[in-house]
Point group: C2
Chain length 428, copies 2
Amino acid sequence: MKEIGIGLLGAGTVGRGLIEILETEGERIASRTGVRPVLRRVADRSFQKKPVLSAYAPTASIDEVIDDPSVELVVELMGGLDPAGTAILKALRAGKSVVTANKALIAARSAEIFEAIAEGRKKNPATTIGFEAAVGGALPLVRNMRLIWSAGGMQRMVGILNGTCNFIITRMQDDGMEYAEALKLAQQKGFAEADPSFDVSGKDAAQKLAILSMLAFDVSVRDSDIVVEGIESFHRVDHELARKMGRVIRLLAIARRVDDRLLLRVHPAMIPANHLLADVRDEFNALFIEERYAGPSLIVGRGAGALPTAAAVLSDLVAIGSGSANRWVGDLQPLKSLEDARYRFYFRFRTVDRPGVLARIAGVLAEHDISIATMHQEEGREPVDVVIVTHEASESAVRSAVSKIDGGEIILAPTVVIRMEDNPDASL
Amino acid sequence: MKEIGIGLLGAGTVGRGLIEILETEGERIASRTGVRPVLRRVADRSFQKKPVLSAYAPTASIDEVIDDPSVELVVELMGGLDPAGTAILKALRAGKSVVTANKALIAARSAEIFEAIAEGRKKNPATTIGFEAAVGGALPLVRNMRLIWSAGGMQRMVGILNGTCNFIITRMQDDGMEYAEALKLAQQKGFAEADPSFDVSGKDAAQKLAILSMLAFDVSVRDSDIVVEGIESFHRVDHELARKMGRVIRLLAIARRVDDRLLLRVHPAMIPANHLLADVRDEFNALFIEERYAGPSLIVGRGAGALPTAAAVLSDLVAIGSGSANRWVGDLQPLKSLEDARYRFYFRFRTVDRPGVLARIAGVLAEHDISIATMHQEEGREPVDVVIVTHEASESAVRSAVSKIDGGEIILAPTVVIRMEDNPDASL
Ligand SMILES: NC(=O)c1ccc[n+]([C@@H]2O[C@H](COP(=O)([O-])OP(=O)(O)OC[C@H]3O[C@@H](n4cnc5c(N)ncnc54)[C@H](OP(=O)(O)O)[C@@H]3O)[C@@H](O)[C@H]2O)c1
Ligand SMILES: NC(=O)c1ccc[n+]([C@@H]2O[C@H](COP(=O)([O-])OP(=O)(O)OC[C@H]3O[C@@H](n4cnc5c(N)ncnc54)[C@H](OP(=O)(O)O)[C@@H]3O)[C@@H](O)[C@H]2O)c1
């Protein structure tokens, strides 16, 4: 087991999410990954107001945490350009690895950060930075850019990268709300800030697109390289008109190779209603990519929130802590498997056309405690299809009922049995 | 730059895909990841028939490749339980890391493999195995199980894990084919083997589910722990009946926590037609998960094929080769950005109700070389909405046309302009 001493800067929404995961799942993380992240120190400007921190020698001094010899890795979750930037550069130069969720900083100061890493590696060759949480929360985008899509064949990325905008747009689309009303609802639900302008202007999505483009295309992107339009300008009626054209509106962040140049855009766009991205609703984020070798891929998930973002931070801790000694399998337990499960079932009985057939089928189902939700018989000549959807019933009861029914002479072909899966949730 | 010497066992579909990527993208991979995988030796039982291998000192002897001191990492792409199993165990015990796409072997012999790794680490502490390609081809599932979903809070996994079955099912659903006809088409397209029984019986999906369950829930799963039903039993008419209920049929691989037990199933299921998984068509694979911290997530992509599978193999090479010194950013190039792009546009002009308004708008568009595909005017009192969809036009032309139109006194509110994105492809 490898312990790794963590110093946390900033115990706000995400920082406290991380503390919650480490406190609840510390043992399991260690057993699963071979790495035990141990929180040693926390710096927060208002640590006195945060009782959960008392176990971690809290201080208001950022330097105290970075300089603490028991801190091997610094997690920066204060946000903003400074003092976060100064802190990250200092830790890296000292040969301490850094994990951060700070997209603004990565987008603005990546060159300096990578220089600081080079300097830190003179002291500690393993010095590195992880910023999985900076783009798309719990969606594994940063890591995949460098690992799964490592051959560099990225052709196109189309993302829904801002949950606030997507929430507002899909409420306008599905509930016929106007922009102001949907924004208010987003604020009530905690999906939008009191001042939402950074999100609704498209600037947040543009920062994320800049980071993804750096990773995918090996280019450095400034804010001004991306054409950005927000979502404030269109109205409910535009959703209705889009629907008439078989389309829906989404705020898309797009990067596309065109010959040897790159098109970088964030803007509302109408996409076909039957496209996978059209089913990405509410606060969810998504990235669709096309890569020369891996092909087209889509990743959908929670782009923000305390725990999803903290899960991404944790993924960097584990990756950095484990190095190449990846522990693909933890301590295995014997399986406790569920032998009999309950479902709603669809049956299609292919039967003779004779009085009493339905009564016979219904009788056997009743004997086995299988209750019928809907029954339907197609008109026509023999063979006749009788279609039944049941209420929840157990697999074992269904197995024995169907084998009894199929054994009789009223059935002309093996009965088709299909489970109904209402989960996963249609709205994801 | 870190070179890593590779020995390849088996140069078939995936093996030659890997050679193609390494030959084409070697430099780019090195610059992006800091790791240069160098293919040193190849073993293949019919290497004489494969001229591409001549550059890599080909041999029929597996041992010769494993024992070669220039080979630091062994890539096993022969398939089957043996000699692949013997080869992998030997390499690991010798302290050489292994990368494989062999799901049958991982599902059947994981315990032995992990013991061999423990033994190998006595010689070389970095000894490890990568099998990202064994489940879901280019979908980053294995890695995410241990990295993004590392806290162990997996609640549920619902996957479409067999491309052959999904191709057959969606052809039956969309083109009204019967099973035999859809299977034949799958065989013609190379999506199904001459003997398709391993796929269509659900057994292939069950093996993948066993591996994912091991990674997600830390349990060891045998084939017999999973209830498996294939896709041979239902007919076109069941798709029609499903459609009437607002559902579609998919072969799902399901793992779900129920109290302290696990439900593991592979079977056809009816899912709501508006669910994201219902849009996963043809040979694509997908995994929907629900994890306590990360939340619900979906990953969709190519589950098989030479290049997608080879891309996953490459991801393991890079991960193992780079260790913790992840190179998140390669050698950055200056951005060549595309300043002006062409789209089809949607305009909504809010106008006064007066003769000549349409002529004025159409005139300005024509002046700017913007040609109209459809024009539509809502009936009603002032203000009147004029909706126009254009053929492809340049952003700069649109910007100046709209500013000219909005400058006139016929316009009552700023014109709404939305780009039409026909890509990404609706079928994914
Ligand atoms: N929240 C999300 O869903 C999400 C998602 C993705 C990425 N992120 C990123 O994660 C980072 C943290 O976000 P958050 O939502 O957790 O922010 P937050 O709730 O505002 O937390 C920031 C914490 O840092 C403390 N702090 C700020 N400046 C400090 C300073 N100079 N010295 C010491 N402590 C300081 C704050 O103290 P006070 O309590 O006194 O303000 C607060 O406890 C940001 O970079 C953000 O962009 C967040
Ligand atoms: N193809 C896919 O899309 C895909 C997707 C996911 C995972 N995989 C996995 O990837 C692995 C390779 O699949 P594949 O499609 O590339 O198979 P393949 O085309 O059959 O290639 C296997 C290669 O290994 C050679 N070989 C077999 N046994 C050997 C032995 N005993 N000694 C030396 N060489 C031997 C074969 O030679 P011959 O030419 O003489 O047969 C052939 O060149 C399998 O584990 C498979 O399950 C494949």
